[in-house]
Symmetry: C2
Subunit: 193 residues, 2 copies
Amino acid sequence: MFDVFQKYLEEKIKLTEQNLELIQSVSVIKKLRKHQYLLQADDVWQYNSFVCKGFVRTYYVDNKGQERILNFSPENYWICGDKASLASKKPSKYNIDAIDASEILLIRKTDFEMLCKKIPVLNDFINSISQENFIAMQERICVNITFTAEEQYTNFIQKFPAIANRVPKHMIASYLGISAETLSRLRKQATKK
Amino acid sequence: MFDVFQKYLEEKIKLTEQNLELIQSVSVIKKLRKHQYLLQADDVWQYNSFVCKGFVRTYYVDNKGQERILNFSPENYWICGDKASLASKKPSKYNIDAIDASEILLIRKTDFEMLCKKIPVLNDFINSISQENFIAMQERICVNITFTAEEQYTNFIQKFPAIANRVPKHMIASYLGISAETLSRLRKQATKK
DNA sequence: AAATACTCTTGACAAATGTCAAGAGAAATT
DNA sequence: AATTTCTCTTGACATTTGTCAAGAGTATTT
């Protein structure tokens, strides 16, 4: 499964064979059955992680007991994980589990930092991804504070058609912060138009 | 006004005099009258910026013509600006203007990159701030998709009491994505309890 | 000092969204 | 094949939130 990650990297940046070997030497593949956890709330998150195969979600349970999905991570994407837990070594408030059977590449925080120091192009690449994530997150806040539920849903399926087709509707509702019933009714209305 | 920034930096990291001089050499102070723009939508944003004095907000106008506030930046904080515009040189979708008369320290993108390369401690410091911002943004998304309007307001005044006391209520409503009237009613209810 | 603009509140009503309960069909499990 | 679980929808109703209009009190400007 490392080859998936390697292919991803090689499409983005130029790496020597030595660099690749170094990266591989600190990479671990973890297989997840469907519904299996990669991280459970109250554990400490200590990896950078990449989805080689499958599909994963990050969620938490709110004060009313409802699951709220913070992020979907499909194949060929990094998992956001819990940066707060990663930085502070405090227990995570998030759970990560497999929506489909998955294979996840893990690199320990310290190893990852070592890689970034030794491989400047990797460091630059990771920084640019962080920046993209930041922008995407800001976009999401804009959508949240501006759009109605219907507009949010339309925006979601237009922006993430692959995810929209792959996950159950109630998860999309959870991601958007609306109830599954409301989403169902919005969908009904939309077909009428 | 550079001394405010200098003091801020020296509390966080160790810098040589040369470093400080280098930073100062690329820093520009811009004074803003109340309500004056630092950035207008459709212009390109090209700075890293820090509020030495005053108070600034970042907002955009939504498709229904309403102002939506993305961020408040008080004294001694960086202004988020528009990272997308900064990165791509495309016109910004955001406006930044002064809530109070302000003095803003500006460093051009290219100069800022030069500083980060030449001063590793600065680079590390900026990275850690980016990370904190990222975590804060994720928190905000959680709040948005989980909390009711009332919970969001309570959370806001508890988390940012200084801002809450300083800006008009309708701006807080705009930041939270609720109407000014709703906020007013929530406040009334809260006093009854 | 007068005029103007801003801030906050309130009422009345409409629209959007949530909650609870139920059921039908599809998918997964045994 | 039967059972169980999951997914999606629907109805009925309550609650929350938005919109429009108005007004009172504060700041700000002229």
